[in-house]
Symmetry: C2
Subunit: 439 residues, 2 copies
């Protein structure tokens, strides 16, 4: 066309971008989850994608730095956010005096991590979080976060299975062994246990200071999985350490609340090997799976944390939150063929022939749209045959033909593209019929 | 609490962040507009917020650079997007062979400009665009974009007034004066006319080479405003320049299409002084106002552009698009008191007293939520009085009391907080009543 040098159109690697037929499904998933959050009385929050670096990095050691998109603009040292929790802490700290605690907020938004892109790992992806924060939060809120997965998954046609634990149990156990200073190190090892061979796992525990007998007790805890009565039976006598027993007692309260909240027994269990990767969790922790698809990995998780705002204000703000790995979930649904990507965005394709027919068809199109029916004129300049081909290609379920006969008789020829049936109807009849067929 | 040095919690200046009661309204606005876009058969697109710098800056001269958030990450020179049009061009170019043209897409997302923050100007704000792109687009699509404002505004309870022109009219006029090379310069002056005194405006025109007589003709064009018949009458004989007459003829087609699309006469007019700031517009241009509130300024605009993908691929892709200044619109609605920020996010507050009452109340809460009723336990650890205060403060319309009597009789005391009426009902009656009251 021109001699101008073209720039190769390309997208940054690892950045999330869907084709429109996928995007429809993805946004539908987000809308359904948002709706559940709202019914559950969570308020929406939308924080900037960019924050001051000292705010975002307040909590982290230097470790996070290389994963972060950090840059200067004018005199400002700024970052793209890497999660939605630090922005919540900043927001809650700035608005501490005006927020009504307990404050229940949800946020669904993009976050950025400069990781090496690989299957299932993105540099830009969505996080979807619901948290409850307040000065003092009863355990009812922990149970509420766990229960919340059930309606979220149900809205997507999925059944849920949540696995629950409490970090105080392992922390108390390590405390009882005099290994309090090694707790974080040991939690990390336990968190990685899934990815380690049993031999490697045990050798790591040994090098952290556990002897054979202690390891045996630990394995007894880590293997405790099942309903509340079962696991308590198995682990209650392992140590009378206060923190340990407090963890078990908190689980007992969670169990009572989940029962009151009508959580079905087959949608959750206790698994004391759950610790979650983040060390800011201090009590309840949980992970969520698609029922009978544990092999696909956790689709989300969350837990109880203390001192959310500790880096910013001199106030105690605790929280408990749940998160859904929405990008991952979408990937899974797609690869398991659990989403229908073939749905047409057009319900009715209108075929016109000349100026008069076009005016006649546009009038119809607008009146259908006013009745929430997705109607569109098929490419006006193409031939009848090309228009029918377009309707087929786009899988449009109905076609309306605005020929000379129709214009003259003030009717419309409605063709069901699946059955090939064609009927001649007045405008009001067409609208009635299509409204009835509109999902 | 600790001696640790605190970091002052703060947000970057000019970055958009709403309080939750505002965010509810804002998201409701976005949802309503998205729904209209979908009914009008536009497909959603969500491109990354970060793009390669050479892609984003392909179109601009150097001018844009200082307004742009540009940085390096590893070997990549990247930018935060400053609009949604260049990402559309990149997307369409990358997917040229798989997209079905005409391709109708909408996108609502954040964009970034390093401008000096001031009232009504943000560094991070939302853009809301709907565009139709294709190899050859009949003017029906221009009319469709204009008409689209009407259902969008209607969904928000607003009436619309669109002002329409065609850039070919002024371009043809300047061409007829032999000033083709000054067209862009003159368009910029015309675009700024609103902000200039008449004296300054005329002196600028003179220094661009127009004589008194030519300025008089130009003013005749610029002052042409009204319905189609009126303005054509006024300007049709000014010049027989082909481009000029083509502009008028395109307006005639737009007029015919808008009439076919049932656009009400009092919701649009022609105003030949409209040129829009962007020089990529080549034909139809329009601006939108809230009806009878032209003083609040344009709430959006758009137009026809050629060669969307010209920087990336050797293919002709034209487009026509409409945009709504959603951040500005929200600001206006707020300052004009046209949004109700007082709506409670909780419909039913549940008051419990002890363990048994709490279980009883949680069971109720979940069943109400399962019926899409926003129910929440009022702060469980506070006193009855504090709970009632909380219900009042949060403007919760109903309170349900789960006292000993209620637990024993398996009923619930439902209190209407506005009328103070209180009735004792069974669970199913409560649900029936609240479903009926649910908006």
């Amino acid at each position: 066309m021109t001699d101008k040098k073209l720039i190769t159109p390309r997208k940054l690697q690892g950045f999330w971008e869907l084709m429109p037929n996928e995007e429809i499904i993805f946004e539908d998933i987000l809308d359904k989850i948002k709706n559940v959050f709202k019914i559950n009385c969570f308020l929406p929050l939308d924080t900037p994608i960019v924050e001051y670096s000292d705010i975002l990095l307040a909590k982290s050691g230097g470790d996070l730095d290389k994963e972060i998109y950090r840059f200067n603009k004018g005199d400002n040292d700024i970052c793209l956010r890497y999660d939605l929790t630090v922005p919540l802490a900043r927001f809650a700290s700035m608005n501490y005096n005006v927020l009504d605690f307990p404050f229940k907020r949800f946020q669904i938004g993009k976050v950025y991590r400069g990781e090496r892109p690989q299957k299932g790992r993105f540099r830009e992806f969505y996080q979807c979080d619901a948290d409850i924060i307040g000065e003092s939060l009863p355990l009812t809120y922990d149970a509420e976060c766990i229960k919340l997965y059930e309606p979220c998954f149900k809205a997507l046609g999925l059944e849920v299975e949540v696995e629950i634990s409490n970090r105080k149990i392992l922390a108390g156990f390590f405390e009882s062994l005099g290994l309090t200073d090694k707790t974080i190190e040991l939690m990390v090892i336990v968190d990685k246990a899934d990815k380690l061979s049993k031999v490697d796992f045990i050798s790591l525990l040994k090098s952290s200071g556990l002897n054979e007998e202690q390891i045996e007790s630990l394995l007894k805890i880590l293997n405790a999985k099942g309903n509340f009565t079962d696991i308590i039976q198995k682990v209650k006598n392992i140590t009378d350490n206060t923190t340990y027993q407090e963890g078990l007692s908190e689980l007992a309260t969670i169990e009572k609340r989940l029962q009151a909240m009508r959580m079905r027994d087959d949608t959750y269990c206790y698994n004391l090997a759950i610790v979650r990767g983040h060390n800011y969790y201090t009590g309840t922790v949980f992970e969520v799976y698609i029922k009978n698809k544990r092999n696909l990995g956790a689709i989300g998780g969350g837990g109880r944390y203390d001192n959310l705002c500790g880096n910013f204000i001199d106030k105690q703000v605790q929280g408990v939150g749940m998160s859904i790995g929405i990008t991952r979930l979408f990937d899974i649904l797609k690869s398991e063929n659990m989403v229908n990507l073939q749905t047409s965005s057009v319900k009715v394709g209108i075929i016109t022939f000349d100026e008069e027919s076009l005016s006649y068809g546009l009038n119809l199109m607008i009146q259908l749209r006013e009745n929430n029916i997705k109607a569109d004129i098929l490419s006006e300049e193409k031939s009848f045959k090309a228009k029918m081909k377009e309707a087929n290609r786009k899988q449009i379920p109905y076609v309306i033909i605005c020929g000379e006969d129709e214009v003259n008789s003030n009717t419309y020829a409605l063709k069901n593209m699946e059955t090939s049936e064609q009927v001649s109807l007045t405008l009001s009849k067409i609208i009635d019929m299509l409204i009835k067929n509109n999902e």
